[in-house]
Subunit: 189 residues, 2 copies
């Protein structure tokens, strides 16, 4: 998948931060002209679609400074250097919700903003949840509140924009699709 | 939705670019401590789920420098200053695919990376497509190739990671959900 490849002539790193780096690359386009690309480097992240025994979807409410508001999201967090995504997923689930899962399965991975960032999010589905005694808590500068929503409540939150991000919208749609497939005993071939 | 609000003490704009700005905000946390937030400001974007008469999903293949590869995505583009998202959607659909739509409907909007960016993507569904004669072409430094995929082909591309971004994965799942609901004549209440 290299069609229309843009080759880098000059790369300039403008910022190296705690979570993201910013670099500007001067590239040669397929027509021979040059252009600049603004690129955010990100370590990648995981998120977890976790269903309780009562089929409720586990959400965390947290303030997102970039949005200047709080939102409901599925549990998520960024990868530590060299960490396997499934390990991050188990850790974030424990830290943000106090739950462990006997059955943590990779569902899909996707880039969130391919136009300017290399952030890749790995989505896991967590089943057979159990409460972890003395679970590790959230990071020191992280404030989250656990919520458990039925599918219908979650869909209402999508409509109300209390759920307002791509991975969580994907998760709610995924659960609806699973429920329909289960109801009609159909499978995607 | 201001729970756990983080108030800005200092805001420093480090970069103002063509598409994104980078700013670092020093914030007061709910526990009174301070922390830094790295934030990307983005003008927002649109994308279009467009189905042909033969129920094929319209995709564009393009090189994404941030990923160093090409991917298949639904048609998309960023908002011009002050532009209504539905106008952007019609424009991007025309420029990237040559199609117009008699029925362009807003489906959902979501933030792509709430942890570090304010990019909001508005998703539209385009039905009743028609070919535009002498359609406006893509931007000068944009190289895209049109592809039309059945739902099954699109799902295979998701599995193969030729489709590899959140909005397009959402779109493919949306089409599958619509197809199931249509097949079983069910509706989400």
């Amino acid at each position: 998948m290299k069609k229309f490849e843009e080759k880098t002539i000059v790369k300039e790193v403008l910022y190296e931060g705690k979570i993201i780096n910013l670099q500007i690359e001067t590239v040669t386009l397929p027509n021979g002209k040059t252009s600049k690309r603004e690129i955010i480097k990100h370590p990648g992240a995981v998120c977890v679609i976790a269903l309780t025994e009562e089929n409720k979807l586990i959400m965390v409410e947290q303030y997102r400074k970039a949005l200047e508001r709080s939102v409901l999201e599925i549990p998520a967090g960024k990868l530590e250097p060299g960490e396997e995504p499934i390990i991050t997923a188990a850790r974030e689930l424990e830290e943000e919700t106090g739950y462990g899962s006997e059955n943590l399965v990779h569902l899909i991975s996707f880039y969130t903003s391919p136009g300017f960032a290399d952030e890749l999010v790995h989505v896991y589905v967590a089943k057979n949840l159990y409460k972890i005694e003395n679970a590790r808590g959230a990071d020191e500068d992280e404030f989250v509140e656990l919520q458990e929503l039925t599918l219908e409540e979650a869909e209402k939150c999508v409509a109300d924009q209390r759920i307002f991000d791509a991975k969580t919208a994907y998760a709610v749609q995924y659960i609806r699709l699973q429920q329909l497939m289960h109801k009609y005993k159909t499978e995607i071939q």
